[in-house]
Amino acid sequence: MSVALGTLQPRKQREAPPDAHDVRQERRLVRWLITTFAVLFLVLFLVLPLATVFAQAFARGFDAYVKALVEPDALAAIRLTLLVAAIAVALNLVFGMIAAWAIAKFEFAGKTILVTLIDLPFSVSPVISGLVFVLLFGAQGFFGADLQSHDIQIIFALPGLVLATLLVTFPFVARELIPLMQEQGTQDEEAAISLGASGLQTFFRVTLPNVKWALLYGVLLCNARAMGEFGAVAVVSGHVRGETTTMPLYVEILYNEYKSTAAFAVASLLALLALVTLIAKALLEQRAATE
C-alpha cells in the first residue's frame, strides 16, 4: 500500500514532452481532447469543492466569518483538535522512528508481514477504527464494567478520541521513513558505530539528518489526518458540545443545525490546513530533489 499517500522521494524529473516531430507524439486534436478532459475533471471534482468551502464561509461577509470562529464552542473544538493531534502525532512520531529503525536497518524473518500489519489501518474503515475501542472500553465493552467501577472514562472522553486518532494515523510516519532508510542502507551507521558512537548518537547524528525531510513530511501528513479525522472520532466522541467535539465533528453539528456559514467557516480552517500541507509537500519534494 505504499502509494496510499505517496512517499516523499526525489521525484524523477520529467523529460521534455515529445515535440511535434517526435514519433511519440499524438495528433494535435487528440492532445487537445486529453488535456481538456483532464483539466475539466480536476476542476469539477477537486477545485470547485475547495472553492465552495471558502465561498460559503465568506457568504455572509467577513464579520460573520470571524464571529463563527470566536464562538466559545468553536474555540473549544479548536483547542481539543490541537490537543488530540499533538498527543497522537507525538506518539506516532516516536513509534514511527523506532519501527523504521527495526525494519529498515535489519534483515529478519516475517518483515513483510510486519510491514503489512503496520499498513493495516490504511485499509480499515474509519468507522471500524472507532468501533473497536467502543467494543473494548464502552459501557457494554470487554473492560466496560471494570472501568466504570474505577470511574475511568475512555469512550466519550479525551482518551477515546486519542486512541481512535492513534489507530487511524498509525502508519503515516513509519511509512514515510521505511523505504528511504532501507534505500540508504547501513554503511553510515556501521561507520559511526565502528568509530565509537553509541546507538543513540548514531541515530540522532547520522540517521536522522539523512531522513529529516521525509520525517517532516510524515509528521505533516500524520498531523493533517489527525486534525481532520472524522469517522473514527465520530464513533467514540458522543458529540458533547464544547467538550468532546473536535473541529470536524463541530462542522457536522453546525451543518446539521443549518448553520451553514458557521460550518463552512470552521471547515475553511481545516481546508487551509490541507492547503498548507500540500504546499509544504511541494516544497519538501523540491528540497529532497536538490539534495
Binding site: R24, T35, F45
Partner: protein, 298 residues
C-alpha cells in the same frame, strides 16, 4: 568491511562467522538496537492495532452462526453492503479511466498550470472528509454552482445515490493517478520509438506497448481506490440523503446500530467489511509484486 574497534562490534563480528541461530532469523549486523526497537514496535502495534481489531472478532465469536447470518442477511444490511460495494466498484472504474487520462496529460503534455494541477491531485488525501462532504453537498445541491446547472437537465445529485458516487469519485481519484504517474515517467522512450519504426500506428503503440506496461499500476490504483471507497464515511454521509435501503452506506449503518446500542449488529457488519478489505489488500500486494516484476524494479 570496516575494522571494528568497540567491544560490542567485535563481539557481533565474532558471532557473524559462527552458525549461532539468531532470534527471528536475523542476519548479523554491527548496528545496535534490534531487540529493543523490534520489541517496542511489536508491543505498540499490538496495543493500538492488533488487540483492538482482534476484539472485533472476539465480539463476533459470541454470536451463534444463526444470529450472525440473521444480521448479515437482513434486508437493510444487505442493501447497505450492496450499495457500498456496488457504488465503490463503479466509482473506482470511473477513476480508472479518468485517472489514466489525467496521469497521461500530467506526464506527457505541457499546458498552463500543469504543476498546480499536479499538486491539486492530492487534495482528497489532505482535505478532511467532513469538509469534503459538506463542500460536495453544497456544490451539487439544487441551488449550488453545479447542482443548479444539472437541475436544468433534470439531474439530482445531492441526497441521492448519485451523490454518493460523486463523493467516492472525489475520494478515489488520487489513488489511481499517484500509482500510474511514476510508471508512465519510467517508460523508456526507445520502446515506443522502436514500435513506431517497426510500422505501428500511434494507436497500436499506445494499446499494445504502453497499456500492457501500465496495466498492473492501473489495476493497483483501481483496487486502492475501491478499498478506500468501501469504508468511506465522512465525505459520503452529508451528500447521501441516508434513506434506509436506498442511500444508506454500510459504514453509516454501523454507526446507526451503535447509537441504538446494538453492538452485535454493528460488529457483524464491521467484520464482513473488514474481511473484504483484507481480501482487497491481499490482491493489491499481489498486483504490486506483478507490477514490480513487469517493470523490472524488483
Amino acid at each position: 568491511m570496516t575494522v571494528l574497534t568497540n567491544t560490542r562490534g567485535r563481539e557481533l563480528q565474532g558471532r557473524a562467522g559462527s552458525t549461532i541461530r539468531r532470534p527471528f532469523g536475523r542476519r548479523p549486523s554491527v548496528v545496535p538496537g534490534f531487540g529493543i526497537t523490534l520489541g517496542l514496535t511489536l508491543t505498540w502495534l499490538a496495543l493500538i492495532v492488533l488487540i483492538p481489531l482482534a476484539g472485533l472478532f472476539l465480539k463476533t465469536a459470541t454470536l451463534s452462526p444463526e444470529q450472525f447470518w440473521a444480521i448479515i442477511s437482513s434486508r437493510r444490511t444487505l442493501n447497505a453492503l450492496q450499495l457500498s460495494f456496488g457504488l465503490s466498484l463503479v466509482a473506482a472504474a470511473i477513476n480508472l479511466v479518468a485517472g489514466a487520462i489525467v496521469s497521461w496529460a500530467l506526464v506527457r503534455y505541457e499546458f498552463p498550470g500543469r504543476r498546480i494541477f499536479d499538486a491539486i491531485v492530492d487534495i482528497p488525501f489532505a482535505l478532511p472528509t467532513a469538509v469534503a462532504g459538506i463542500a460536495l453537498t453544497s456544490l451539487f445541491a439544487e441551488n449550488g454552482w453545479l447542482g443548479s446547472i444539472l437541475a436544468l437537465a433534470g439531474i439530482k445529485v445531492s441526497f441521492t445515490p448519485l451523490g454518493i458516487l460523486v463523493a467516492l469519485i472525489f475520494i478515489g481519484l488520487p489513488f489511481v493517478v499517484r500509482t500510474v504517474q511514476p510508471v508512465l515517467l519510467d517508460l523508456e522512450a526507445e520502446v515506443e520509438e522502436a514500435a513506431a519504426t517497426l510500422g505501428a500506428t500511434r494507436w497500436q503503440t499506445v494499446t499494445k506497448v504502453i497499456l500492457p506496461a501500465v496495466l498492473p499500476a492501473l489495476l493497483t490504483g483501481f483496487a486502492l481506490a475501491f478499498a478506500r471507497s468501501v469504508g468511506e464515511y465522512g465525505s459520503v454521509i452529508f451528500i447521501a440523503g441516508n434513506l434506509p435501503n436506498v442511500s444508506e452506506i454500510a459504514p453509516l449503518l454501523i454507526v446507526i446500530r451503535l447509537e441504538e446500542f446494538k453492538y452485535a449488529d454493528a460488529t457483524a457488519i464491521a467484520v464482513v467489511m473488514l474481511i473484504a478489505s483484507f481480501l482487497i489488500l491481499l490482491a493489491v500486494n499481489r498486483l504490486q509484486r506483478w507490477s514490480e516484476l513487469r517493470s523490472g524494479r524488483l
